[in-house]
């Protein structure tokens, strides 16, 4: 379902070119649960951004559902993100001005779903995350764990092919972090494909497969 072939990513800085990814080969099947680990600067987030279609590889091929997305333009990538990908961030990244349900419905807004349907689905999804009574609360009225659950609801609302989580428990204490990971594990049991970045071994333990990266190359776990 996800096939990365010899992915390179380099950044042109004024004087030097920094190569962050130096040929990554990775495959993921439907229902996979992959934890990407590695020290900071090893290229984990860059890899995740490329898988999430927020970024394009400098060279190499990336097939998502048998479609080569490495050559798509900005608008096409936006469409792919809206249709196929759900993001969960370390710092939740909820819009502070909007109540939970409005945050959750955002991907549907850009997916062209009509308003009534959007709200209904959003409230439903919040209910699945155990936040049925919180849908009118703004992010700053929710605890960290609750905020991350709103973010997961938002990531799931489009029924994406894959959920990408960049250190989803990094801003949470370990107890709440575990609760969040339980949710991911539960979703995965339900068939959702998940790729997450973390540097906590305990968190990575929830995954079926661990990929470690070092200096822009895949150190272990890559196919």
């Amino acid at each position: 379902m996800i096939v990365l072939k010899d992915i390179h990513r380099s950044y042109e800085l004024p004087k030097i070119t920094v190569e962050v990814l130096k040929g990554i080969n990775l495959e993921a099947e439907q229902g996979d649960f992959i934890a990407i680990m590695g020290p900071s600067g090893s290229g984990k987030s860059t890899l995740l951004n490329i898988i999430g279609c927020l970024d394009r590889p400098t060279s190499g091929r990336y097939l998502l559902d048998n479609v080569d997305v490495s050559t798509k333009n900005d608008n096409e990538l936006a469409e792919i993100r809206s249709r196929s990908i759900g993001f969960v961030f370390q710092s939740f990244n909820l819009l502070p001005r909007f109540p939970a349900w409005k945050n959750v419905e955002l991907p549907l807004l850009y997916g062209g779903v009509e308003p009534k349907m959007r709200k209904q689905k959003a409230v439903e999804m919040l209910g699945r995350m155990g936040l049925g009574d919180r849908s009118d609360h703004k992010p700053n009225e929710l605890s960290g764990g609750e905020q991350q659950r709103v973010a997961i609801a938002r990531a799931l609302i489009n029924s994406p092919v894959i959920i990408l989580a960049d250190e989803p428990t990094g801003n949470l204490d370990s107890k709440v972090g575990k609760e969040i990971m339980e949710i991911f594990a539960e979703l995965n049991r339900g068939g959702v494909t998940i790729i997450l970045v973390t540097h906590e071994m305990e968190i990575a333990g929830f995954a079926k497969r661990i990929v470690t990266m070092r200096d822009g190359v895949c150190y272990s776990g890559c196919a």
Binding site: N49, G52, L54, D55, D74, N75, A78, E79, R81, S82, R83, F87, F89, N93, L94, L95, R97, F98, L106, P107, L109, Y110, G111, P115, R154, N158
Partner: protein, 402 residues
Amino acid sequence: MDAREILSLSKDALMSNKMRSLLTMLGVIIGVASVIMLVAIGAGAKSYIHRELGNLGTNILIVVPGKTSTKGGIHPPTASTIRKLVYDDAVMLRKRARHIADAVPLILGSSKVKYLNQSRDNNVVGCTETYFDLRNLSVESGRFLNNADVDSKRKVCILGRTVKRGLFGDRNALGAVVSIGDGKYRVIGVMAKKGVTLGIDFDDIVFIPTTTAQELFDTDTLFNITIKVKSSAEIEPAMEEIRQILIKRHANKEDFTVMSQDEMLGVMNKVLGIMTAVLAGIAAISLLVGGIGIMNIMLVSVRERTREIGIRKALGAKNKDILIQFLAESVTLSLIGGLGGVLFGGMVSLGFQLFIPYLPMEISLWSVMLAFFFSASVGVFFGVYPARKASLYDPIVALRYE
């Protein structure tokens, strides 16, 4: 996203910072309101002049000495090159021109007017009977001049109300003898109130026969010949006729100008139009400044919401979606500002009409439309740059922005 959703998105964003939105709009509000008020003043002045000129009588032509090259303006008559207009010119016009009802030879001067120990310096107008009709004048008591007074150079006068008050107070003036210059004149009438029209105070004038005025001021030069045309349809032929007759009398030279009141109105309209346009232009500059204010705030807003832009993009927003969102905000700002300006400007104009009736203000629809659409386009024009900037943010960089 349909229009309603985009609008509600802008509403959310603008309401989240009410004070800032209000202050930003204030620039547009002031700009639009001042355009509307200044144009209202211009339009008011225009219709004021129309009314006043109507007050001065209709179907009137005026012949002045000196040829003007352009229509309307009057060159200062320089005695050496121009033949004067004389009493007989008017007589000839009255006799020959078929399209005119009458021609009034007018002499204007000022002189000391005395009664007993009261005296004042006054404008003295030498005219004939027709002038009375022509300028819509009426007497309060006694009578106006008649042709016999003019023909036999009678030393009679009609006093304007203010003059009568000044010389006689509440006493009866009819039949009294006042001295004007060196002569003694019998008062045969007192004018009814007319008021100030276009700067001329008709109540502060002494009327005497033209022929008598010629002797009083020792001149045979007329100030002008004021002509009453039979009907408005005959104004054009009358002008041509007057021209022909006077050219013949003036040794085949056109050394005079025939003006119609319409022409003078046209000139004044033109002047007022230019004035209004200049004022509205200045006001429009303030609208421009308001637009720059919008751009400034939108740039700040885009910067502040960098992260929001990143989030929206990560969740599938296209560049176009972001562009529209921010553009809608700036247009909403300027449109609400425009609406506020229309209301504010309209209210001030109406308030002026109510409380200061002599300052004429007329709200014209075109200025309202213009100001409103201008403000909308200001929103688009000054909103495009910030919105475009927002739409081009790289989602990865934007998401990392603190």
